[in-house]
Subunit: 273 residues, 4 copies
Amino acid sequence: MDLGLDNVRFPLLDHGYVQLVESWGSDEQIIRSARMSTAKGFLGWGPKCRACGDAFDGPERDCPDHIVGRPYVDCGRGGHMFDAPGDEKLLKFLWDNQHSTPFEFAGMTIEVKAPIMVLREWMRHRTQSFSEMSARYTPLPNENYIPSIERLMVNSKTNKQAGTIKGAEELTEEWATRFRRILEDQYVNAEDLYQHALQGGVPKELARLIVPVGRYSVMRASTDLRNWCGFIKLRSAPNAQWEIRQYSNVVASLIKEAFPRTYEVAKSSLGLE
Amino acid sequence: MDLGLDNVRFPLLDHGYVQLVESWGSDEQIIRSARMSTAKGFLGWGPKCRACGDAFDGPERDCPDHIVGRPYVDCGRGGHMFDAPGDEKLLKFLWDNQHSTPFEFAGMTIEVKAPIMVLREWMRHRTQSFSEMSARYTPLPNENYIPSIERLMVNSKTNKQAGTIKGAEELTEEWATRFRRILEDQYVNAEDLYQHALQGGVPKELARLIVPVGRYSVMRASTDLRNWCGFIKLRSAPNAQWEIRQYSNVVASLIKEAFPRTYEVAKSSLGLE
Amino acid sequence: MDLGLDNVRFPLLDHGYVQLVESWGSDEQIIRSARMSTAKGFLGWGPKCRACGDAFDGPERDCPDHIVGRPYVDCGRGGHMFDAPGDEKLLKFLWDNQHSTPFEFAGMTIEVKAPIMVLREWMRHRTQSFSEMSARYTPLPNENYIPSIERLMVNSKTNKQAGTIKGAEELTEEWATRFRRILEDQYVNAEDLYQHALQGGVPKELARLIVPVGRYSVMRASTDLRNWCGFIKLRSAPNAQWEIRQYSNVVASLIKEAFPRTYEVAKSSLGLE
Amino acid sequence: MDLGLDNVRFPLLDHGYVQLVESWGSDEQIIRSARMSTAKGFLGWGPKCRACGDAFDGPERDCPDHIVGRPYVDCGRGGHMFDAPGDEKLLKFLWDNQHSTPFEFAGMTIEVKAPIMVLREWMRHRTQSFSEMSARYTPLPNENYIPSIERLMVNSKTNKQAGTIKGAEELTEEWATRFRRILEDQYVNAEDLYQHALQGGVPKELARLIVPVGRYSVMRASTDLRNWCGFIKLRSAPNAQWEIRQYSNVVASLIKEAFPRTYEVAKSSLGLE
C-alpha cells in the first residue's frame, strides 16, 4: 500500500507534520506469523456460527439453546450458536503475554517534520530507520518552532522533568508572551546570520552552527509494528515532553487505522484511551 | 502488496520451498528516502528528452546534432536530445558508496521450509524477524532432507569448509548411494521412536530430542532490503553451504522481481550474475 | 576482568555448563552513565553520615534527634544523622521506570554447552552475539542429552506448552525409563552412522544431517546487562522449557555476582527470588 | 579494565574531548571466540620454535637447514625452525573475509564532549548505546564551537558535501575571521536569552529552543569492536565532516592501544595509515 505524496499530512505544532508513507502487513498477517509455531494459519476474526460456519459481526444476544448468559448469533440461515471467539483472542493473548515477535511482521514508514529538538529525542529509538534532511547538503529552510502561550503555561508541578531551574520566577502570561517574542527575534537573527555566512562562502556544514535546535527539519522513519508500539509507549507517556507526545499520538492514530485490532488490544498498556 | 496464500512456492531441495508473503517499498521509495537529505524527491527513471521532458525508454541512437558518440532519443515530438541520466544514477551511487540507509525503506517477508540445519545457519542473521514452527507446541511433520547423489559428489577440493575429515575415504558414487539409504533408514527409525515416545506420554518438548537436524521445519522471515542484500552476500557466496545457497538464490530472484533496479545496481557486488 | 579458562564451569544437565568468560561495567558505571543526563556523576552507595560523611552499611536505628521514625546511623565518630539515601535509590528508579539505557553500559560474555535444542531457543535472542562450534568445520563431539526420570515426570498439567499430544498415555515411571533407553540407543546409533559416513568420505556438512537435536554443542554468547535481563525474564519464567530455565538461572547467578545491586533491584520483576 | 575518572581526556576542537571509560575483551579473546567453531582455543601469537615450542618475536633469518628463503628463529636453546605463523594469521583471515562476529566479543565505552551538530551525526550509528546530557533536566553549559580560520579555509573544492551554496563568494581569510566573530556574538546572545528565559520561569525543555547546534553536549557511547570499526570506516573517511573525523581518529587511536593486533589487520581497510 504505497500512498505516495498525495497522502494526508497531519499538521503538528506551528509548522510540523506527520504523514503516512506506507504500511505493510496487517492484523491478519500478525496472526499468520504467530501461527507458524503451530502451522494452523489464520482462522478468522469474530465468533463463528456453529451451524453455517460464517463469521459474525452483528449484535449479540443471549443464546436460549445453550449456556445461560452466553450470547448467540442469528446468522439468518438457521444458525444461532456461536463458536469460540476468533483470532482476536489470540491477538490479545500475544500482546498481553509479550509474545512480541509476530508484531514484527507488519510495519509503517512515515514522514515527519519537527523541530531538531524533537528529532533528537526521536532518534534515540535505534530500531527505527531514519533518513533526514542534511544541513551539510542543503541549507535548512527557515521554519522555527514557537510554542503557544498555552503550551508555555502548562503547569508542570507534577512533572519534575518539565520543570524550571531552581530560583526561577513563576512563569506569568506576560513573560510567556515575551519569551515568544524573544524566540522569534532570535530566530530571525539566526537566519540572517546563517544566510550571510552562506553567501560569504562559509561551507554549509559550518554555517549551520548558528542554527538553533528550535528549527524544523524533515525525515522519514520506518520500523515494524512492535517497535512503533515501543515508541508510543515511551513518547505518549505523561512524562514525555509535550511536543514529541503530540507526534507520538498521531503515530498511534495511524496504527489505529492500519492495524485496528492490534490497536485495540494494545492501547491500554500503551497508555492510550 | 499482500499476496496471501495463493502465492507461488519456489520448490527447493526435496521438500523445501521459499514463498514471498509480502514486499513493501520500491526502487522509487528508496530514492525518495535518500532524497530526504536534499528535499528533492523522486525525479524519475531514465534519461529525459530535453525538448519535451519525457522520460525515455526506447532504443538509443547517436545524436547527430550534438556531441559525437552520445546517443539521443527521438521522442516523436521533435525532441531528440536526452538529458542527464535519471535516478538510476543516484541508486547506483548510493549502492556503490555504501549509503545503505535508504535501502532500509523497503523490505520483504517470506515463508521458508528448510532442514533445521539450514534454519540454524539462517537464524544467525540477527536483523531478520523470525517466526518458526515449534516442536514444543506441535510434533514436527515427518519430512527429512536426503541430498541427491549429485550433491553428495560435489567436488569440494577447492572448499575446505565443505570438506571431509582427515583420513576419510574418497567418496564414491556407491558410497553416496549407501549414505542416502542410511539416512533414509535413520529418518524412518527416528520418526518411529518419536511417535512412540509421544504416544507414551513423553512431553513434545522432550520427545523431540530424537529428531535429527535433517528434518524440515517452517518459518517466516522478514527484514528490510539492506539486510536481505547482506544475507544474500554471505549466503549466495561460493563458500556458503550448497543448501542455503539454493535458498539465498531464490531470495535474490524475489528481490529482482520486487526491486528490479536495486537488483541491477547490487548484483555484481553480491556475487550474482 | 578477563577470567580466562581457569574460570568456574557451572555444570548443567548431564553434560552441559555455563562459564563466565568476562564481565564489564559495574553497578557504579551504570549510575555514572545514567548521570550523564544531569552531569552529576556517581554519588556513592548507602546513606551517608551527615557529621563525618562516611557511607553507612550497618544496622539502622530510629534517630532520636530528628524526625520520628526515621532511622539513623551511629558511625562511631560522633555522627548519627544519615543523609539522603545513596545511589541505590537512583538504580531502583531507573529499573522500575524502565530507563533501560544505563544498563547497556555493562555486560557479560559467557561460554555455554547445551543441547542443540536449547541453543535453538537461546539464539532467538537477537541482541546477543554468538560464536558456536560448527559441524561444517569439525565433527560434533559425541555427547547427548538424556533427561532424568524426575525431569521426564514433571507434572505439566499446569503448562500446556510442556504438554503431551492429544490421546497420549499418561507417562509412567516405567515408560520414562524406557524412553531414556530408547534415547540412548538412538544416540549410539546416530553416532555410529555419523562416524561411518564421515569415514566414507561424506562431507562433514552433510554427514551431520543424522545428528539429533539432543546432541550438545558449545558457544560463546555476549551482550549488555539490559539484554541479559531480557533473556532471564523470558527464560527463567515458569512457561519457559525446563532445560533452558536451568541455564537462565545460572546466568542470573552470574549477574548477581558481577552486578549485585542491579540484581537486587531487578530480581522481583525478573521473576527471581 | 575500569579506568574511572582519572583517565586521560584527549582534547578535541576548542572545548571537546574523547575519554576512554572502559574496554573489554582483547585480541586474544577475539581469537578464542572465533575458535569456538573448531573448539581449538587460542594457540598463541607469533611463530613458534619447532624445537622448544617458544613463541618468537626477534629478528628473522633464513633457515639454512630447511627450505631456502624461509626465515628461521634462533631461540637460543638450539631451536631454529619456526612453525606455522601464529594466530595473527587467523585474525587477519577473519578481518579480510568479513567474519565479523568474533570482533563482537570485545568492546569499548567512551565519554565524548562535542558540538550537538557532531553528536547528531554520531547518533546515526544505531548499534551504539548512548547516554547524553539532557537539556530537559539541566541547563546546557555555555560552551560553543568556533572553528579555527584554518578549518574554515579548508579547500573543499574536491568535496561537494563540504561545499558552499551556489552563488556564494569565495571564502577569504577576512571573511572567515568575520564569521568567527559573528558566531561568537551569536553564542553570547543565545546564552543571555537562554538564561533570561530560564530565570523568567520558562521550563528548561522549552528555553533550550534558543540553543544553537554549535553548543557542546556530553555523552557516553558504548559498543563492540566490530561496530566501532564500522563507525571509524564511515567517520574517518575523507568525505566525513572534518569535525567528526577528528573524533573518529581518536577513537581509532584508543582501539590501537586496547586491541593492537586488530588495529594492525584492520587499519588499511578502515582508511587509517
